[in-house]
Symmetry: D2
Subunit: 337 residues, 4 copies
């Protein structure tokens, strides 16, 4: 940290700060310029320390030099995190495709969707049993019943299952059926849930919050890693901007950026990221070309009858075409699909 | 709802849509223009219906005409919601001031803060026992112990207590000690929590999410109201924008806007809204002048020693000056303080 | 500036940087930590220098310590800038009210509007002769003819005139008729225009860009001040966010923030800031309570017939009521109206 | 357009609106629901009409059904616009690469850069003679002298030239040397400039504004097309969001979206779009995979010595590697490079 003093701070003001820093256990390095004094603070970065300093009089502001994340950063873990799961890996040379409907709507719809995505070449099946919905009058998911249907999909098709867990108290129930537990965008900073997920030993797919910075996203991952669960998959799903033609703005630059900052795998969800099925193929290819480790795509046997997210769901034929087209893009990006 | 067809949609395409609408129980009103056909849909607004229609081929988009909120809207509840609480009211002619430290740090700090804000004229005491923190390495709150200290504040000072509840499973514990239960910005769309809060009969203070639209905020309130708890207080606390000099951008236009759309009381938190104690007095006055029903302000006996949010906390002298200055502004706005 | 080196930068890497800094004329202050080296750079802040350093290998990033603005900042000009204009002052103890229609539509409309706002108590008349419009098919303004009408308003009513200048080549024509030259939000970073305005000796009203940070806004003012024209009035008019219910999000916290950073007067335009006439009165009062030096408000004799911005224009009766209500708020804020 | 009336609008209120619409020359289509009346307006979309209606009492809001752009839209021009330029085409089967330094710094630097990008395979050379800079203390460009150097590059290397034009009065001077005239992001809504560019017969590269919606961007193109110049190339260069790790957020979904809405070619500038040279290769590949017609990339012989934008400039070796890697991606996207 660096403490920038006001131009009119006195020697006494500076001493008051350096004394406090020493009491806090920090080393101090003074740099007295013509117009202002700057205090270099040597020791571990702590938000509380920075806030306490910033609240002191004659301090203009506190500037952080190091990044706040440790376990989620490359500095301490230079090598890529590769997660082994069934016959596949995530974060390695394979391109992972997770596909399926937004929500579990019923057993028949689910099995049909599962067979479709398996046949097309997806390795992981996605569908929500618990659904966070903006309106209390919308379909809220089949909940426990939905988990049972997902279990059947796994045993009958051999597909891996990813599904959302919405609070710390259902982690074990979801973990009993899911191969990967998904944290939704609205829950990215649900710290009780993140801490509980740090205690299990199954991969967690952590969606970026609707307006989360990359730093906040990696700090959310840090909660899980800090609990001892090192298998976190990050998922970019679009951020909120002023543009109304798309549901969100898919931030693909987050893919190479996160790969520079962190060893964790990063996948992309172009369905939520754009909100329009007609934009999904282009953005899927772009995501793979940008270096994403995988994709999460909404596919519905019949989007016109979907109980949610129909406009952003591919139908089976569109999904098959996309997978076929992706093979070349993946190869160019050094990935197997 | 209005369904806008593509310019090259055929008669059959239109029939397919209108048939589907009739099967869904909607009335249909056709308007055939020179370049495109528009279908007016008569009946209750439903997101699922809109999504299903938007997924159909030759539909360009679906436009909503009515607002999605019902119980949270003025259309069905024209009169202001006034909440009676102890000797005071929220949403009526009084200006309510909620003040106190960010977090419960210890018993002595808490009692000192409580006496300060009471003396200065606040009616409600705020302090967090549970703390959502961006970093797993930051102070996470005293939790249950913190609630006990808050209980002592209430019995010894007579101040009303507002404190955050972070999940549906601690609602009863928090409700046992708090007069008002606060939902934090990161939890605004935690639907399990909102549903549980619909079941209790105590006022809920619902903070606006970091990047929530006014519509989403009112829909979150709708979850609570829909459960039968009509005492919801909305709290504007700043939204996320590109401006780095302030922690958030305090959206004061949300105050008159929400008052037009909804009967619910609206208060403003200029401490989180700006992140700098030096901006809190000006924005407190502005909030009252804009028509806010109250304020939530961070006050700490010694901001330089606060375990969190020191830079945005007023010290006791600053808070007393602010309350004194606010009296005239409140009077001008037709409020008693 | 502070140069943060990568953790794995070698001694040679650091020497390469410090040598370059010395060649550039900077003093250097080395701080070698456990994990990384930090180079304090002593001398004048320059963007080019920072960019050149950031492009060097093993440099993680360059952090600025000082603000980029000089003439626009309080550090070099601690006292408030007060502009004397006719019988009034801007930035002093008076609250300045600028009012009038969006555009000059014709002579009769203009005179009617001018008499209305004068009678109600405004000191400055606003109306655009040149109109920047999003669509080429919209009314583009009366241009030179409009300036003539404005001249007549000034001579007949004695009101001061503020009107927009859209490029560097019409500065003298606009200056011949206007008492204050307005730079629109879309032109905030039109540097040729700003430089030309630095050469004249008339006040300039500089609107904040649609997505300009406070720092960029002050840097735009710096262009004008740097030319020797010190009479710049800043005007907050709303920024672009994700909220669709308002045309822009009026950032009132910019008022006290700019007042801390800069000696320049700040006024607020709640008409463009909200886009809805029903929100203008509340936001006008809030702006004055926040410490604004004045207001710019759209008033039209008949908003239903306005050629532009009708929905955000007050009619004469609404404007008179607002001015009456503002008197108390102004008094509380220590301002005369 | 559709006019949504307030729920408590009377029959008289509705008549007042429909009468006005008829006087304006619009057809009217009434739809009287249980709770509110909706008026369908048949005729050409006009912003002024919508604003006048929205200003009328008892009108809740006006909803547009058609898009505001005509010449820039696919509806009236279904086929892709292909621009023939020298030996190449833009918007056809070729992938166009525009590369070069941010600014013309001197003759030697320019020739070196030009030879580098030519050798690597770029078809168009970019460099700014006029430079819009945030700070008045930064390097402002060589202006006319810079244009002369660019002319020499063209005659000596045979590369096509793209360079920025900053106002309507230098259009002819820039057009004399440039093959493509660039409109910078800050000038996207400089309507005088856009109108002047409508009068020439050379391609215009129109950068998206810092916070421009796709609709506003296409409307800016409409200004040029409306003047009779149909050769407009759109360039996505990142939008402003809350994310601080990147200079802008590159919105690649704008590529397929614009391609759906408009026949105009779209290229991508990943240098300004990210601000970091380390992110440029990944985002270049992603842009091509998303369907972009070309790329604009900053390349400097020695980024550490660049007078501007060094941190986002590739050096010659990095650029050659990128072009080599792009060939496969282009092929997959059906493009020749």
């Amino acid at each position: 940290m660096i403490v920038v003093m006001n131009p009119d701070a006195s020697k006494d003001d500076v001493s008051r700060i350096t004394d406090k820093l020493k009491r806090m256990g920090y080393g101090v390095h003074l740099s007295i310029g013509e117009r202002r004094t700057i205090i270099g603070v040597i020791g571990q970065r702590r938000e509380e320390a920075a806030q306490a300093l910033e609240a002191m009089s004659q301090v203009e502001r506190v500037v952080f030099i190091t990044r706040p994340f440790k376990l989620a950063g490359r500095e301490f873990h230079p090598d890529d995190t590769v997660i082994n799961l069934g016959h596949t890996t995530i974060g390695g040379s394979e391109l992972i495709v997770m596909a399926g409907p937004c929500a579990v709507e019923g057993e028949a719809q689910l099995m049909e969707a599962a067979n479709t995505v398996k046949e097309a070449g997806a390795q992981v099946f996605r569908a929500g049993a618990f659904k966070p919905r903006t309106s209390p009058y919308s379909f809220q998911g089949l909940e426990i019943k939905g988990l049972e249907y997902l279990d059947r999909v796994r045993s009958e098709t051999g597909l891996l299952i990813v599904t959302e867990v919405m609070d710390q108290f259902t982690v074990s129930e979801v973990a009993a059926c899911a191969d990967i537990l998904q944290v939704g965008a609205r829950n990215m900073q649900n710290y009780f849930l993140l801490r509980e997920l740090g205690r299990i030993r199954k991969p967690v797919l952590l969606k970026r919050g609707l307006s989360a910075t990359v730093e906040e996203w990696l700090m959310a991952a840090e909660y899980i890693l800090n609990g001892g669960n090192y298998e976190v998959i990050l998922c970019e799903r679009g951020i909120r901007t002023f543009e109304p033609y798309t549901r969100n703005t898919l931030d693909l630059s987050a893919v190479p950026l996160v790969k520079q900052l962190s060893p964790l795998p990063v996948i992309v969800d172009p369905s939520h990221g754009t909100g329009h099925s007609s934009l999904v193929p282009a953005m899927s290819k772009a995501a793979v070309a940008a270096g994403a480790d995988g994709l999460m795509i909404e596919v519905h046997p019949n989007p016109e009858e979907a109980l949610s997210d129909g406009p952003q769901s591919l139908n089976p034929a569109q999904f098959k075409t996309l997978i076929r087209d992706l093979k070349g893009v993946a190869l160019n990006a050094g990935r197997l699909l």
